[in-house]
């Protein structure tokens, strides 16, 4: 056997296992048997004898027993247990590679590992592994062809293998782009873990931002068609009630916003001038919140998903987004939301803040308007306090805000924003705290802004002159700067996520539009299947499969003329009805079998016409064909009846 063929088998097994390891979801203890691959393939490559069948069977049995324990107890997840099982089987198989079929088993198992891994990770490393797998798989299959033919001579396979690999890659890309996308979600559960984040729930504990503010994990990437002037505040939600320890949203019930089906399928929150809107295309990583982020104020949203909710305070919620990699486009206007009906909830103060009240009144003493008061408080906080990520705990019985304002004098966004809201409310200015992200890093390679967990931020909205105004009392901290290489890698990740992981029917439409240039197509309607979507998918799948079968059958019969086609069709039917028909069956043999199955003398006439036409050169006229077809129909009816 060719050494390169052996090496390819090893590489494919290794690739399959690696694809699972890189997900980070695999239990290392359960994957330990995978180390067996190395000695197994070392022995195989060195031509050493394979393990005895009994040992292989014994280990396989043990592995199956461990699998059942794993799926029920250790991992308690059937999917992960399958991943562990395939790793163990790859190791066992490496000691039992005897004939070409064993190699194919390794390839198929690696393929299964790749499929399992695709549910556990969406990393770009997976993409690299996939490309490597494709090339190795194609090469190995070409070699396995020659091995099966019993030739190992050097046939000059380098060129064809390279050619086939490249073409396969291109056709894969073509199919990937043109394949209709569905997500039936009939069974199983998603295994991709979402990014944990804080600050976007109805109740946010004071100080919780400190846990994520050092986390460089990317939460979203944002493309903007025309850049508005920064700084950027990617608004999330607002919270209005502070009890001294945590913030709460006491807003009214969320209102359902419907899509504009009759026009452009968007969710419209308010009317706006699209030409002046700031369009942000946001590629959100799978974060565990359904909050829609965007520059305030969001006027419209272009996103998949059925339901969008608004809580009346400018916050939007899209349940379909939660925990998923999600792309959406936000249309923002250069304005802040209008102040809704007056509510004293924005003037609420917790108990024991008299000291803060006095400080606020002292700062705003000389100011007449709400605008001036807010400005003075913001300035005071920015200039007299230091930004620090270290959390200094307040002594028992002392309010953390009071401790921040009068003792530690250092803190991060939550301290500043909370302090300002309380101070504003103390001087009669309605205010609320807002959570979201601020800033982000512009990626020169990709032309987008990368927003990380560390960009999580809270700021203040104050209602002045019936309009909400944004205030950020937090002094600037030290910004993380990422290297050029890191930015380049992030651009690759962005493209991988953008064009592969999150490729959508919307992208397909864009491609069709681009290809149709310079002949613009009319707008392509979106297909919507309300109701039981899953059932529809199954029916569609079955209809497609059936159509393909019928087309293949029709193509197979098309090479025959009518007379031979009908004869072949009858042969197939007889075989299905249990007749002994082989490819070498003669017409008289077919006739005998048909009569055995109870077909009357019509078959004699049918076969006679067929033989005269096929072997005697007799051409049938219209009448003759009609008779032949009638006979065929009668025979089929007898067989089916």
């Amino acid at each position: 056997m060719l050494q390169i063929y052996k090496l390819l088998t090893f590489l494919l097994a290794f690739t399959g296992c690696t694809s699972l390891i890189i997900t980070g979801e695999i239990n290392m203890l359960m994957s330990l048997p995978g180390i067996g691959i190395l000695p197994g393939y070392f022995r195989f490559l060195k031509g050493m004898p394979q393990a005895p069948k009994l040992a292989v069977s014994g280990f396989s049995l043990i592995t199956l027993l461990v699998f059942s324990v794993d799926s029920l107890i250790i991992s308690n997840d059937y999917f992960l247990a399958v991943a562990h099982l395939t790793i163990a089987f790859q190791a066992i198989k490496s000691f039992d590679l005897r004939d070409p079929w064993d190699h194919l088993q390794v390839y198929f198992m690696s393929l299964l590992q790749l499929i399992v891994a695709s549910e556990l990770t969406h990393s770009i490393v997976y993409g690299a592994i996939f490309i490597f797998f494709l090339i190795a798989f194609v090469t190995a299959m070409v070699f396995s062809h020659f091995i099966r033919e019993g030739t190992t001579s050097n046939t000059g396979l380098k060129k064809p293998v390279v050619f086939i690999s490249v073409v396969t890659l291109l056709i894969t890309a073509f199919f990937f782009v043109s394949m209709p996308r569905m997500a039936g979600g009939l069974w199983g559960k998603a295994h991709q873990k979402s990014i944990k984040t804080v600050g976007f729930t109805e109740k946010v504990d004071f100080g919780s931002f400190g846990d994520i503010i050092l986390d460089p994990t990317v939460v979203m990437r944002i493309e903007m068609k025309a850049y508005s002037k920064g700084p950027y505040y990617w608004r999330g939600i607002s919270l209005d009630y502070f009890d001294g320890v945590s913030w709460k949203d006491t807003g009214e019930q969320r209102e359902n916003i419907y899509r504009a089906y009759e026009t452009d399928n968007r969710f419209y929150i308010r009317s706006f001038d699209e030409e002046n809107a700031i369009v942000q295309t946001i590629f959100a990583e799978p974060i565990d919140t359904d909050v829609i982020f965007g520059l305030p104020e969001i006027a419209a949203l272009d996103a998949p998903g059925r339901a969008l909710f608004a809580d009346g305070s400018g916050s939007l919620y899209l349940p379909a987004k939660k925990g998923r990699r999600f792309n959406y486009t936000v249309y923002s206007i250069r304005d802040m939301p209008a102040f809704e009906e007056f509510s004293d909830k924005y003037l609420q103060l917790p108990d024991g803040v008299e000291k803060i009240l006095r400080l606020a009144q002292e700062i705003a003493l000389t100011k007449d308007t709400h605008m001036d008061k807010a400005g003075a408080i913001e300035k005071y906080l920015r200039e007299n306090y230091a930004y620090s990520l270290s959390r200094s705990e307040a002594p028992p019985g002392v309010s953390p805000i009071e401790y921040f304002l009068f003792n530690s004098r250092r803190g991060y966004c939550e301290h500043y924003a909370t302090a300002m809201v309380l101070m504003l409310r103390s001087v009669g200015v309605p205010a609320r705290i807002v959570t979201g992200y601020t800033g982000g890093e512009f990626n020169e390679y990709g032309g987008y802004i990368t927003v990380r967990q560390s960009n999580a931020h809270s700021w203040v909205e104050a209602s002045i002159n019936d309009k909400w105004h944004l205030y950020d009392p937090t002094p600037p901290g030290t910004a993380d700067v990422h290297s050029q290489f890191s930015q380049f890698l992030d651009m690759l990740r962005m493209n991988w996520n953008r064009y592969v992981v999150a490729f959508s029917p919307k992208d397909q439409k864009k491609i069709i539009r681009a290809l149709s240039m310079p002949f613009p197509l009319p707008s392509i309607p979106a297909l919507r299947f309300p109701g039981n979507v899953g059932l529809l998918y199954i029916v569609a799948f079955m209809v497609t499969g059936l159509s393909i079968l019928l087309i293949v059958r029709s193509i197979r019969l098309r090479r025959y003329n009518l007379i031979t086609g009908r004869y072949v069709s009858l042969k197939n039917l007889l075989r299905k009805r249990g007749a002994y028909i082989t490819p070498s069956s003669t017409p008289s043999g077919v006739m005998k079998e048909a009569m055995r199955l109870g077909v009357d003398t019509n078959i004699i006439e049918f076969i006679k016409i067929y033989e005269e036409h096929r072997f005697g050169g007799r051409e049938l006229g219209r009448e003759g064909r009609a008779i032949y077809e009638r006979l065929g129909r009668d025979i089929k009816r007898q067989l089916k009846g």
Partner: protein
């Protein structure tokens, strides 16, 4: 085009992957599904291109004798101008058996392979239906092209060792001259050149006059004439009949190699005296296709004055051809062969 066992399994794997992709909506599973579809598509496309423009030629490189290995040349040409064909297999018809395999056929060229085949029986065979087969580039599909070769191959009877029986003939004193290989020197006649004649015996003067190659024949050769009478009149034992045919062929070959003039007499078919390789193949052609007959319709009869040595091969003791025994120098019974 057929789907192989591995192909069926790959199809099943692709189907399950497709279901998983449609169920989850996970683009990475879609990607794997698309890769599998691409592999299926590329298998079909390349296989079709690989098999396009192939031409099969089959020919024998020498006379073919039953039960004796013979070489059959199988040549496949690739008429595509740029694309080579890989892994082409030629499967022989069932009665020939064997296969030829060509790992690569460069564009615009042909490759050939010599295949050793053994025909178990004499006769005239149509080459029948050859199959050109390939499953390149992978092993998921198999494509076959049926090639009907219309020409025929003549399989001559098996040539057996005759030395032993000739020695027995000699021992019996039937014909001490039978093994004499001299040519004699008494001029007898000038005749046309026949295939197998010694070129040193060409009579150049007569050839120039007649514009045809003429050779001299000597008187002694007249005495070196052998008639093989083969009894194919209603034989009862088929195996013995085949043995008798094989013996007739072997004796003819043996004595024609000794420059004898040999004549073959059978029911309905007579090959007149002649010598050389040409005569041998005339006799072998008849023997290759000879079959049992119901009546004796032949100019050779018991009353005909025998010319040279006569070997009568009878298929049984009670054969109607027993009447030729008196006119024969040697009688061989098929059952004894």
């Amino acid at each position: 085009m057929r789907v192989s066992r591995e192909g069926k399994r790959f199809f099943l794997a692709a189907l399950l992957t497709g279901i998983a992709a449609f169920n989850t909506g996970n683009n990475l599973i879609y990607l794997i599904f698309c890769m599998m579809l691409a592999i299926i598509a590329i298998s079909i496309i390349i296989l079709r291109i690989n098999m396009r423009g192939l031409q099969l030629r089959v020919f024998q490189s020498g006379p073919v004798f039953a039960k004796t290995p013979a070489n059959l040349e199988v040549s496949v040409s690739n008429e595509k101008s740029r694309i080579p064909s890989y892994s082409i297999k030629v499967l022989m018809p069932e009665k020939i058996s064997g296969k030829a395999y060509f790992p690569k056929i460069p564009p615009g060229s042909d490759v050939s392979e010599s295949i050793s085949v053994i025909f178990r029986r004499r006769g005239v065979y149509g080459y029948g239906e050859f199959l050109i087969e390939s499953s390149f580039p992978f092993i998921f599909f198999l494509k076959r092209i049926l090639c009907s070769i219309r020409s025929q191959v003549v399989v001559y009877p098996e040539i057996k060792e005759t030395e032993k029986i000739v020695q027995e003939i000699v021992k019996d004193g039937s014909s001490p001259d039978l093994l004499w290989a001299g040519r004699g020197d008494e001029f007898s006649l000038i005749r046309e050149f026949r295939h197998g004649d010694d070129r040193r015996r060409i009579h150049w003067k007569a050839s120039a006059k007649t514009s045809t190659l003429m050779v001299t024949e000597y008187a002694a050769e007249e005495a070196r004439k052998l008639t093989v009478v083969l009894d194919n009149l209603m034989p009862r034992d088929h195996t013995a009949f085949e043995d008798s045919i094989s013996f007739a062929a072997s004796v003819s070959d043996r004595f024609l190699n000794e420059d004898y003039y040999v004549r073959l007499v059978t029911c309905r078919k007579v090959i007149p005296f002649g010598s050389g390789k040409d005569q041998l193949y005339k006799i072998l052609d008849v023997l290759a296709a000879i079959s049992a007959q119901n009546s004796w319709e032949c100019p050779f009869s018991a009353e005909t004055a025998p010319e040279g040595f006569v070997i009568l091969i009878l298929n049984s003791g009670d054969s109607p051809l027993n009447r030729f025994i008196p006119a024969s120098d040697m009688v061989i019974y098929a059952a004894d062969l």
